[in-house]
Symmetry: C2
Subunit: 132 residues, 2 copies
DNA sequence: TCCTTGGTTCGACACATGTCAAGGTAGATG
DNA sequence: CATCTACCTTGACATGTGTCGAACCAAGGA
């Protein structure tokens, strides 16, 4: 929330380093690229955070306040807050305070970037896969 | 290699629990789904492992032996071996011994599954319709 | 002003993880 | 068999990470 600038920087850096849609199997990642990308995957490499992400993404209006999220887990509030911070610093979600509550929403563009890195089929031909 | 059965089990379990291509934003992940999925992301949440993955995926013939991989990093052989094991146990790669060397290749179907979970409408045709 | 509710930060703890040296296994070649 | 190469496993260590209680901040009422 207060680190909106950091979120933007992270996202910009990822986009710059990874490129728009460079599939993983086309050419090996550089050390720098792998560091940037692994940040996102590491943020998603926790069951609680993955579930938080899907809870936010699938919530009505595309956003959810923290009070909508805490009840789902058997975890203390600081723990949820910590996980949300990790997701935020990875550029996967953004937080905004409106009155008493803080609302989070996902960054679909980052999910799309990551998805495109994984599979080559998104843009055009690449591998001799079973083609229609 | 010696745990080929485990690799199959992991992949089957992931396919069963996650489903074929259920996007993250459609409905919230269950606790079980998030646990299975987070295993894969956690395996990719390390720069060395991500780079290993891309090195294997982009290598000629779609496979690479360990000797092709160790020289790229400033890491001892046991460390590389450890990371390869993590990738293997996550179902992302398979290892096969042929003579003196051990060759690794990626499982594109798992990458496609993960990619499809992230973004709706991604790479559905590349999914191999995993059956039991 | 004080109190209540929603969220975060801090500090501390137990546990997980990345790393390497040493030792072990599998196969090829004498 | 002996030995060399390629690769893995073990054991140990330092660092990183998830968790929570306590304290703190922000906003909206009495």
């Amino acid at each position: 929330m207060s680190k909106q600038g950091d979120e933007e920087r992270v996202l910009a850096q990822l986009a710059e380093v990874v490129g728009c849609c460079e599939p993983l199997a086309r050419e090996p990642l550089s050390a720098q690229q792998s560091i940037e990308l692994s940040r996102v995957f590491k943020a998603m490499g926790d069951p609680v955070r993955l579930r938080l992400l899907s809870l936010i993404a699938s919530h009505v209006g595309g956003e959810a306040c923290v009070c909508d999220l805490t009840d789902v887990f058997d975890l203390a509030a600081p723990t949820i807050s910590h996980h949300l911070k990790v997701l935020r610093e990875a550029g996967l979600i953004t937080g905004e305070r409106r009155g008493t509550w803080v609302y989070y929403r996902v960054r679909p563009e980052l999910l799309a970037t990551v998805s495109a890195v994984l599979v080559p089929g998104t843009a055009e031909e690449t591998l001799p896969v079973v083609e229609a």
